[in-house]
Symmetry: C2
Subunit: 201 residues, 2 copies
């Protein structure tokens, strides 16, 4: 099992490798990766050694092989079908973003309680009334939801999603959600990140 911190680093290595491929660079050293991320070279080598491949030559790692090793170990190809609940500014931006599918994140539909949004198409995906969530979750076999409703609807909508069989909630709202033990929540704490980033300014 790969730790959270390592998954975070491996996805950033993957960004660097994707960039190398765009620029036609075939091999890269751990020192180059470490320098770009301002982390220890030994940490990069340790992370890569954990992956089951990585053709290492005298001049460094093979870019294409390392990239596919990361994709394999982090299950990029495992399709994760997802609903977006709350088709507002943030929900729309996430729905229109077509890079998610490269990581296996497959947004199937959006849900909203505002009738003006129903039947609108965003990034090729339909906006359904929130009442349809349970039926559509069963029909499309979805148990992951991205929550982008306002703070004052967050807990109530969460209760509704849990009842509809949602087991994983990627929470963008500034509310810490109360859920049963068998439901996982990831709090996308954007403000916490910003405060960490600017704290020592």
């Amino acid at each position: 099992k790969i730790s959270d911190k390592t998954i975070n680093r491996l996805t950033l290595y993957h960004c660097i490798l994707t960039d190398c491929i765009r620029k036609g660079i075939d091999s890269i050293s751990s020192t180059t990766i470490a320098g770009l991320l301002r982390i220890d070279d030994s940490q990069v080598r340790k992370d890569i050694a954990m992956l089951d491949n990585t053709g290492k030559s005298r001049v460094g790692y093979d870019v294409k092989e390392l990239k596919s090793a990361i994709e394999h170990n982090l299950a990029f190809s495992k399709v994760k079908n997802v609903f977006i609940v709350g088709a507002g500014n943030l929900g729309f931006a996430l729905a229109k973003y077509n890079n998610f599918s490269n990581y296996g994140l497959n947004i199937l539909a959006l849900f909203d309680n505002n009738p003006l949004k129903h039947d609108v198409e965003v990034g090729g995906k339909k906006v359904y009334p929130i009442e349809d969530l349970k039926g559509q979750a069963k029909k499309m076999d979805v148990d992951i939801a991205i929550l982008t409703v306002p703070y004052n609807a967050a807990q109530q909508v969460t209760d509704y999603m849990v009842e509809a069989g949602i087991k994983y909630i990627w929470n963008f709202t500034p509310v810490v959600l109360a859920v049963p033990d068998d439901v996982q929540v990831w709090n996308e704490n954007l403000m916490g990140n910003f405060l960490q980033f600017t704290y020592s300014k």
Copy 2:
């Protein structure tokens, strides 16, 4: 100095406390906070003990006092003036979001190279041509930027921002940016977070 992980936890406690105030709850125990976040009660008590106030009574912490202690220790009131560079889907969603200012994040303007976006107003903020960045950064005394341009413009725009005096870049693009030593970058690794969240599914 408060560690990154602690800042992350304190901002989540702040969300819980804000919710309590909305519901008219006056005091809260560390066990309740720990239960909501699925972390150790002793961790919560240790974090709170580090803050310089926290009226602790027999029934728990005083909600209002604890909330303002967190705001004080994390410098919510220190105004952080920020530009958004890349006025697309994500840039617009961030600009329209009015909760940022509660944490001291003050978005002053957006910049974009698409002439169709110039002079548009988003959330009360103007979109300027990217060429105006240097002049506006000096005029408004801004050295923090949120980067929301496409991946293929990320490095070039970063070079331009660094030249314009930007010292802190909150990077939403999937590109690891090369910057001089005196510039700080925070990679908002949304895909890394999603993979961590669904890895063990």
